[in-house]
């Protein structure tokens, strides 16, 4: 049995517990948590700037708490699709352009038309805005992404007797450079020939030859057209005919490619500005002041691919208005400039290029300049399957299992069947 003193302590303890719980519940009821899912939260150059922007927004909105959800790299879509099926989508997600069509088709993201004002669209890239629409309605707000250009190792350029002030513009010029810089174990070019990024690279090559995956109303695949077959043929011949790419290309993901360039085993590579911090981090001695940035080479029309990450509001969000406020905040001129300068990811505001900090950064200026000719992929629900099929098509040619013509025709047939469903 408790003494009188013990009983008093128990009652006091219970009272305190009730009071604290009440306060926690009261605070919890007043505060709003916005969940933000992104597979890039953890990357060092991105983590810092996001942390700052979140802090700034929370200071402006004291009852709002932004909770970052970090799925595994390249596992975000799987995690999101599982959450969506369970009816617990995050409030905000950075969704790759290749998944937007699928997410909209399944009703997993909200239509943003009722939140977006006309002034929000000012200074946004029209191409990027349009690409975030499905059936004319806005579902994805262009947040940031990568526009593909070319990286060249300056030292190898000079050693090969090439002019660093006159970088290649066309396919033939690029091939000439790749051959002249090719001196195994240093190879002329490192591409990505595996994983989803192969899809991005292939589209950059396809667009730069005036080709496309689908026709305008997305009912027919165009990969068997001459310009598409030519793009497939030219770039796979870098291995089969010209031997200017490292062995085992189908094992090259983003990690292998950037490592090869950073450790000076490749003289050039296709990539977006986001690769710059990685290169400088991997091998600062070799990479500092030794990188030249050029446009994506073209055959018929200057063009490149833009991987756009859209910010979407999950269909199950309980606070879509606040989620939209946060998205708008992240896309203000100041925030977009900060993201571009610190994280080296390209925002899709067209006025960021005028910011003094951007003007001081040559590489940022150059990549932002590529925005004019950048195009993204079509927003169809089958885009995931189309991406996989294109990867298979390219790898079949690269490994000698099919000619470019055979692979293109087979891929076209399969994609036409997907579109017909």
């Amino acid at each position: 049995m408790l003494s009188k003193h013990g009983k008093i302590m128990w009652i006091l303890g219970l009272l305190i517990l009730v009071l604290v719980s009440f306060n926690v519940v009261t605070i919890a009821k007043d505060s709003i948590t916005i969940t933000w899912m992104s597979e890039n939260h953890h990357e060092p150059q991105i983590k810092a700037v996001r942390g700052k922007l979140i802090q700034e927004f929370e200071e402006l909105h004291p009852n709002v708490f932004i909770m970052q959800i970090q799925p595994p790299l390249e596992g975000q879509w799987m995690k999101f699709s599982i959450m969506a099926r369970a009816g617990i989508t995050p409030d905000i997600m950075d969704l790759g352009c290749e998944y937007l069509g699928s997410a909209v088709d399944r009703g997993w993201v909200l239509n943003l038309d009722k939140y977006v004002a006309e002034e929000d669209k000012e200074n946004m890239s029209k191409n990027a805005l349009n690409a975030g629409k499905v059936d004319g309605k806005i579902y994805g707000w262009p947040f940031w992404g990568g526009i593909y250009g070319m990286y060249y190792n300056k030292r190898f350029v000079i050693e090969a007797g090439l002019n660093p002030d006159n970088l290649p513009e066309t396919w033939d010029e690029f091939l000439d450079w790749a051959k002249k810089m090719n001196n195994p174990p240093v190879y002329g070019y490192a591409g990505i020939w595996s994983s989803g990024t192969l899809f991005h690279h292939h589209l950059a090559r396809l667009y730069s030859n005036g080709g496309d995956i689908l026709n305008d109303d997305y009912t027919k695949c165009l990969l068997d057209q001459p310009e598409a077959v030519e793009a497939l043929s030219f770039w796979t011949e870098l291995d089969s005919k010209h031997k200017v790419i490292p062995p085992g290309p189908t094992t090259y993901t983003y990690q292998e490619q950037t490592r090869a360039f950073a450790y000076e085993l490749a003289a050039s590579m296709t990539n977006a500005l986001w690769a710059m911090p990685k290169l400088l981090g991997d091998n600062p001695e070799a990479m500092t002041d030794n990188i030249l940035i050029g446009q994506n080479p073209y055959r018929t029309v200057p063009a490149t691919y833009a991987k756009i990450l859209y910010q979407v509001i999950g269909a199950n969000s309980e606070n879509p208005d606040i989620a939209w406020e946060f998205i708008k905040y992240l896309n203000t001129f100041e925030a977009a400039t900060q993201r571009a300068v610190e994280a080296k990811w390209i925002p899709f505001r067209t006025d960021v290029i005028n910011a003094p900090e951007v003007q001081d950064s040559e590489d940022l200026k150059q990549f932002l300049g590529f925005m004019e000719t950048a195009k993204t992929n079509p927003n169809v629900p089958q885009i995931g399957e189309i991406q996989s099929r294109i990867i298979e098509m390219v790898q079949m040619v690269l490994t000698g299992q099919a000619t470019p013509e055979e692979a293109s025709i087979e891929a076209t047939k399969d994609i036409d069947k997907m579109l017909a469903k």
């Binding site: 879509w77 062995p247 085992g248 290309p249 189908t250 094992t251 996989s388 298979e392």
Partner: protein, 289 residues
């Protein structure tokens, strides 16, 4: 209620039965039902056997089936052979063997994805130690893209699977060896049996049940293995290592077609049942003999 001990027993196993039903039986049945629908979110768009017809009429399914069978049967076969050698070597109860039994199990203890990442480095065409050693000893004249060349990719994946799996099979067989009475070996020796006859007529028959269990488990684990191949090759290059589990993952999580993925899973389940049945029935028929 608790006066009758029989009811008390049900009370204690009840939570376990409920958990197993929820976690295993329900998803199994739901997956089977899902395979007859196209839209898996709220099970609209009933397509009957449409998913199955589409799969069976797709030549890529048959290619994946062939790759799955080659991968499974090669891996399981090599697991058994190497596992048996290992078990025979470690059968002696010395201190050295006691330590060795722990060390050889290390590949099994490491997670599949980690093993795959490690072997990706070993197989790397430019930096990998395999090409370095083979080039140094003159076995190859130029680097091989072990995971990037369709001629070698499946073999490379099988090597990794075997490396990781045979120690555990060896341990199972070792446990079986340890249970064989010494008197049988002594009697065979007295009768003039040689090593091969002892192995064939004493060791193997005594290990029959252990082998059945080991083969059954290994067939199941290997046939449904996805993580290893996904990390090593993602099913490439082209479709050179695209097994059925990889297709299931692709259909379900990349293409968001759970109905189709469920149909693939049911087909894999049926194939697995056939193989496991062959192993178990074979074991029973020998018993009756």
């Amino acid at each position: 209620m608790f006066h009758n001990e029989r009811y008390l027993g049900y009370f204690f196993i009840g939570p376990t039965l409920i958990t197993i039903t929820l976690v295993m039986v329900f998803p199994l049945i739901y997956g089977f039902v899902m395979s007859f629908f196209e839209d898996e979110v709220i099970l609209t768009q009933f397509v009957g056997f449409g998913n199955y017809f589409e799969i069976i009429n797709n030549p890529k399914f048959w290619n994946s089936l062939m790759i799955t069978l080659i991968f499974t049967l090669s891996s399981v076969g090599l697991h058994f052979v190497l596992g048996m050698i290992l078990a025979l070597l470690l059968n002696d109860n010395s201190i050295v063997n006691s330590v060795a039994r722990v060390i050889v199990l290390i590949p099994w203890m490491v997670g599949e994805s980690i093993v795959a990442i490690m072997w990706k480095w070993v197989f790397d065409p430019s930096f990998g130690i395999l090409n370095y050693v083979f080039t140094k000893i003159g076995l190859i004249s130029q680097n091989i893209a072990w995971l990037g060349d369709p001629r070698f990719a499946l073999l490379s994946v099988i090597i990794v699977r075997v490396w990781r799996g045979f120690p555990f099979i060896g341990l199972l067989l070792l446990a079986g060896l340890q249970a064989i009475p010494e008197s049988q070996y002594e009697a065979a020796t007295v009768d003039g049996a040689n090593s091969w006859q002892i192995f064939r007529f004493i060791t193997l028959p005594n290990l029959k049940h252990v082998i059945t269990v080991a083969l059954t488990l290994d067939l199941i684990w290997t046939m449904r293995s996805m993580a290893l191949i996904n990390v090593l090759t993602e099913g490439g290059p082209g479709n050179a290592t695209k097994t059925i589990p990889i297709r299931i993952y692709e259909e379900g999580f990349q293409f968001v077609k759970l109905g189709s993925a469920a149909a693939y899973s049911v087909l894999l389940f049926v194939i697995l049942i056939v193989f496991v049945s062959i192993v178990i029935l074979n074991s029973f028929s020998k018993k009756q003999d």
